[in-house]
């Protein structure tokens, strides 16, 4: 028996197996209440984006930002919960990203109502794959600023076309005279305020919302008396396919601004959007796609631009592959196109079309700690800066 081997615990290199609290949320219980907290931190670094292909409405590049997020859920019994998330970018004061009440009236039916600053029901990126992408950039439709602003308007078509390809810094003679960014098709960086409901029935999921702002311009307080109606119906197969159709319609212009324009009084200025999305999971592969069309009723000092529907379309295709444990490869192609208006030199798209190819790789040091590197190739058919190629790195962790 002396021939015993020291089992070094031939067995247990325990250091790498941290206790559960390191990677799972342990709720704090206080009587009837249960509070669960979570958070994430990410830092992205890339060369200076002077050509503003990754600009956000907060005036910074998505490839050059330190982001801290803290989220919490306060459950009050089995039927009610309050959820909130705050985010801080580049160590600035945190701002509220989400705050709403979630209710499930019947425990045995997957029917939920949420009220407050709620996630969008339209599209898929924000809810489905905003966080698990191996890429660092966002799809163009979810952040790229177009020439449209909700508070400042061109005099006419030539005035609009003058800014073509410069939505990241634009100003017009009507309304606000400050330089500011334009509106994206749908913003992933702010959530709208209102009430929404979702019903899951077998393979089908139906959701709808009534909110203060629009996809482009979410609001806490309604400024035009026109609520946005949005909905999505989705179907999930048992073989990893989910497909959805979305719709949204709501006023996007401040009534105060409209009232200053005699020619615009009494008219509705709405954003309307239709979207298609799908995701197919297949082993180590995920294929995702989104297509959306958005039309805005243009505000301008005079016809014919006044009331013209300015349209834009976006297509995103993304593939993700995990060839080895902890390693993720991904590629995404984006195309953003704009409808024509009749300019001084004939028909022209009202903003400059943009395309983007991003390829990236991620490596998970731990299951909640990931390093990414990506290459992004951007092209814009107009404006002062028409090319922008970037290499970016990002570290991210969640707890």
């Amino acid at each position: 028996m002396r021939g015993r081997l020291v089992a070094i615990l031939s067995v247990l290199p325990l250091a790498e197996a941290l206790p559960a609290p390191a990677d799972a949320a342990e709720p704090i219980r206080i009587g009837f209440f249960q509070l669960t907290l979570g958070g994430d931190v990410s830092g992205s670094l890339a060369g200076k984006d002077s050509v503003r292909f990754n600009e956000t409405e907060y005036g910074r590049s998505l490839l050059r930002v330190l982001r801290l997020g803290l989220c919490g859920e306060l459950k009050m019994g089995a039927h009610l919960a309050v959820l909130a998330e705050t985010r801080s970018e580049n160590l600035e004061a945190p701002r509220l990203y989400a705050l709403y009440l979630r209710a499930r009236p019947w425990q045995n039916h997957a029917f939920d109502v949420q009220a407050g600053m709620v996630p969008p029901v339209f599209g898929a990126f924000v809810r489905r794959y905003g966080t698990d992408s191996a890429l660092i950039g966002y799809p163009l439709a979810y952040h790229y600023p177009t020439l449209l602003r909700p508070d400042s308007f061109p005099r006419d078509v030539p005035n609009l076309l003058r800014w073509r390809g410069s939505g990241w810094r634009v100003r017009y003679p009507v309304g606000s005279h400050e330089y500011d960014h334009g509106l994206p098709l749908i913003t992933a960086l702010r959530w709208d305020t209102g009430i929404q409901a979702r019903l899951v029935a077998g393979s089908w999921q139906l959701s709808g919302a009534v909110t203060q702002g629009t996809l482009s311009n979410p609001l806490v307080r309604d400024d035009n008396g026109s609520k946005q109606l949005s909905s999505r119906i989705a179907w999930r197969s048992s073989r990893g396919l989910e497909a959805g159709v979305s719709f949204a319609r709501g006023g996007y212009v401040s009534q105060e601004i409209v009232d200053r324009l005699p020619a615009a009084r009494g008219r509705d200025f709405r954003q309307q959007a239709v979207g298609l999305d799908f995701e197919q999971d297949w082993g180590h592969w995920i294929l995702r796609g989104e297509g959306m069309w958005s039309g805005w009723d243009a505000v301008a000092a005079t016809p014919p631009l006044l009331g013209t529907r300015l349209s834009a379309g976006a297509v995103t295709l993304e593939a993700r592959f995990r060839p080895w444990p902890g390693v993720t490869l991904a590629a995404r192609y984006d195309q953003l196109a704009f409808g024509d208006v009749l300019g001084p030199d004939g028909p022209a798209s009202w903003d400059a079309p943009v395309s983007r190819l991003e390829v990236g790789a991620g490596y998970a040091l731990r299951h909640n700690l990931t390093l990414k590197v990506s290459y992004q190739r951007n092209r814009r058919d107009g404006g002062s800066f028409q090319r922008g190629d970037f290499v970016a790195v990002q570290g991210s962790a969640w707890f």
Binding site: M1, R4, Y97
Partner: protein
Amino acid sequence: MVLTRVAAATLAWLVAAVAGAGSHSMISGRVELHGDPPPVAPRPRVAALGMPPGPIEVVDRRQAVVYLEEAPRRAFEESERGHVVLDQRNESFLPHVLAITVGTTVDFVNSDALYHNVFSLSKAKRFDLGRYPRGQRKSVLFDSPGVVRVFCEIHSHMSAFILVFAHRYFALTQSDGRYRIEDVPPGNYTVVAWHEGESRASRSVEVRPNESVELDFVLP
């Protein structure tokens, strides 16, 4: 010279095998946790449009593993090639802790209507099974000893431990905290109690032929 060494090793193995054979010695006892570990909840799903459609299993995290830190030589020459199941049900791994010997295959069954993606980045076994639907199972052979932490890539609150031993002298605690390691060859051992990723306590013990040793642990 070589022949002499081989003969000596064979003789030593035979002596050890004969000495251990027929031993009915046992180490048993109870592992008491100082307070129940709190249940684990999913991280807040702020971007979701509602609660999860189905129930989420509340995982019992009280289970501990008791094992011999050292084991007789012959224990390392035994090999089991069995299969055990680690189920994915109601967005949880069931059981939460598996203890197996090297050479065991674990079948990861998906019993949920959702897709799951089991993976591990542990040094003892790195694997990624990809996404698969309800009713399918994927298998992994555990061929090295160590602690393997298992996760789901889609549902971050899902986790499990697989302890892979090079010998068979270990036991999982029952719901009442009792454990029993059977057929332990006589000798002096260090017995370790493990819980939720940490070796929390160890005690020395002498095991005599055909005797049972009662060994309790209180874990902080």
